[in-house]
């Protein structure tokens, strides 16, 4: 079966800053693939590359970038516009950047459906109200008439989610879709998404910092660090047997309620990500890594401890 989304050797740079450096990953129909990693490691940029929504100063290249087998690199702007918000939709990390403050929630939601599916205003409004209700918004009629700034952070986030689902996408890229929500609503949205996944075979690329969500909903997890995918494995395998030192460090930092020591500092990975200048070689984690030696400054092998598990490190498989 061909994957729904294939990303191979993606490179994105802004001037002399390399934001994504050869990242590869794929999403199958009905699969939830979670992307985690340090703030600034290139998760959102990877997602925006797929949607072709990068800032104008970005340079994107890849060995392959395909949706349902169709090449996205060579696709025309109008071809891309037909897919976006339609067969593939995205929930953005910051809802205020993608909701237009000048239009009501209702007009923004119905516009997508009218544009892509030529639905009538009436049908579009019905669907919008239905989806708002499904993401747990009561009085959808009231909310449809409101402007984005009149909504709480969590309401805006749910409007974004409902809007992304308007055209029944086959691929959903969700960038931190539930961080603005309380945990009970978060659980509700995650259950809704997995129901859609079952019913429609929706494939999901889910970007999140919440390793609790990852553990509970992901089929597969990829860990990014400084623009590279440093480890990728099925979820249970990654949590039970993390191999890359960054993944190990990350998992150790997760605060778990009930196991908190109030007077001690929270565990963190000391240091910061280095600046990746052109010509950078070796492992980008080496300055923070307890296992680093001189070989970490040259080419790093990708090991495969099992068919579905790979990691990028000098340490043996």
């Amino acid at each position: 079966m061909t994957a729904l989304l294939e990303i191979e050797q993606l490179q994105v740079s802004f001037g002399s800053t390399a934001a994504v450096r050869g990242a590869s990953l794929s999403v199958a129909r009905g699969e939830t693939h979670c992307l985690v990693g340090e703030s600034g490691c290139g998760k959102s940029v990877t997602a925006l590359s797929v949607m072709n929504l990068l800032a104008p100063n970005a340079r994107r290249s890849a060995k392959r970038l395909a949706f349902e087998g169709q090449d996205l690199l060579g696709l025309s702007d109008s071809g891309m516009a037909n897919l976006r918000g339609n067969a593939m939709a995205m929930i953005f990390q910051e809802p205020m950047t993608s909701l237009n403050p000048a239009y009501t929630v209702g007009s923004q939601m119905t516009e997508v459906l009218r544009r892509h599916k030529r639905a009538s205003q009436r049908a579009a409004t019905d669907r919008a109200a239905d989806l708002l209700a499904r993401v747990g918004i009561t009085a959808p009629g009231l909310r449809l008439g409101q402007f984005p700034h009149q909504l709480s952070g969590g309401l805006r986030q749910r409007v974004m989610i409902a809007m992304a689902l308007m055209c029944e996408p086959r691929l959903l890229i969700a960038d931190e879709p539930t961080t603005a929500l309380d945990v009970t609503v978060q659980a509700q949205i995650l259950r809704l998404l997995s129901r859609l996944q079952r019913d429609l075979g929706l494939g999901m690329l889910l970007i999140t910092h919440d390793l609790g969500i990852v553990a509970r909903v992901a089929h597969r997890v990829s860990v990014m660090y400084a623009g590279e995918v440093v480890e990728s494995a099925p979820t249970a395998e990654l949590f039970a047997n993390p191999r890359h030192p960054y993944t190990q460090g990350l998992l150790r930092c997760v605060p778990v309620p009930g196991r908190i020591k109030r007077d001690e500092p929270l565990g963190s990975i000391p240091g910061t990500v280095p600046r990746i200048a052109p010509g950078f070689a070796g492992c980008a984690f080496r300055e923070r890594c307890a296992f680093a030696d001189e070989s970490c400054s040259s080419a790093i092998p990708r090991h495969r401890p099992s068919a579905a598990h790979d990691f990028l490190c000098r340490l043996p498989a």
Binding site: G40, Q150, A180, D182, V183
Partner: protein
């Protein structure tokens, strides 16, 4: 000494009813009273849309209450001038992108509160900004960027640097670390804790991340539809939660254990309508243990050690 004190604060918003409907009133904060001692950290958790950010904006003086009193460090917020208020209390907001001017470089964003005071020399401003950027883990090179050239987490550090650069007495944090990975989150929270100890700061700390709240807060308030339905010292709230909504919240936390799936804690899928607050106990339509009288009787505040709970059945 009391750092923050609220007495019977209420705030409603009028929402246009559209073509047919009449205007409606959303009750965002409904008769809330509390005090936070100097050096304390009050964690606030609760439903999305229950009024947490509204409460934060009221305390910051960015919104006026319909009624009730709000004082910080013994002074009425409404009576303070903006500059004095800025030296005393600073926000770190939820959505770093919306709260940072996109056309202003990071350094200048962080310098803004100092410049607005009007009495810091240029060299002093530069020194304080450098120090603050380093403190939150942003390089000098990043200081020269625009907000759009930063990742979400990097932007959140800018917002924190801007809030702390004036060394305020009180910091109102509204989801300050929700955009950060767990390691950077830990660094920021450790930084906030360190500054609190060093400078005797008081925090109001709003977050959906219960583990984070458990770590930073000295006491926790649980908010539901505009009211504090439970309030307790942190250990008690996490150890012996009483209100059914508090229990549901704690049961919804996703621990990093693969294979357990996403729990359904039985609150139903319809959320409350803040323009139409249920009679009796406002939680009763969703409460898993509700009895008929919960739909009629308003639960009184029952006192508990260091706090209280509003439920008829506990």
């Amino acid at each position: 000494m009391t750092a923050i004190e609220l007495g019977n604060v209420r705030k409603t918003f009028r929402v246009k009813g559209g073509l047919l409907g009449a205007d409606r009133h959303v009750v965002a904060v409904d008769d809330v009273s509390f005090a936070v001692p100097t050096g304390g950290v009050l964690g606030i958790v609760g439903e999305s849309g229950c009024g947490k950010s509204t409460l934060a904006r009221l305390i910051l003086g960015l919104l006026q209450p319909d009624r009730g009193s709000i004082a910080v460090e013994g002074q009425r917020v409404a009576a303070m001038d903006r500059r004095a208020r800025a030296r005393l209390i600073q926000p770190v907001f939820q959505d770093p992108f919306a709260s940072l001017n996109p056309m202003t470089r990071v350094r200048d964003i962080v310098a803004m509160p100092l410049k607005a005071q009007g009495n810091f020399g240029a060299a002093d401003v530069r020194r304080r900004v450098d120090e603050m950027l380093a403190r939150v883990g942003l390089s000098a090179e990043m200081g020269r960027r625009l907000p759009a050239e930063l990742s979400g987490g990097q932007r959140q550090r800018v917002a924190i640097a801007r809030a702390l650069v004036l060394r305020p007495r009180i910091v109102v944090c509204d989801e300050p670390t929700s955009a950060l990975d767990v390691s950077v989150q830990a660094q920021i929270l450790n930084l906030l804790a360190e500054l609190r100890r060093e400078l005797g700061l008081t925090y109001l700390f709003i977050s959906h991340n219960l583990a984070v709240v458990e770590h930073v807060a000295s006491e926790v308030a649980v908010m539901y539809l505009g009211r504090f339905v439970e309030r307790a010292p942190t250990e008690r709230l996490f150890g012996e939660p009483e209100h059914p909504y508090t229990r549901a919240l704690l049961a919804s936390v996703l621990t990093p254990e693969p294979g357990l799936g996403v729990p359904d804690v039985g609150l139903g899928d319809t959320l409350p309508d803040p323009a139409n607050i249920p009679a009796g106990c406002r939680f009763h339509p969703r409460c898993p243990i509700a009895e008929p009288r919960c739909a009629v009787e308003s639960p009184p505040l029952k006192a508990r050690p260091g706090g209280g709970v509003e439920c008829l059945l506990v």
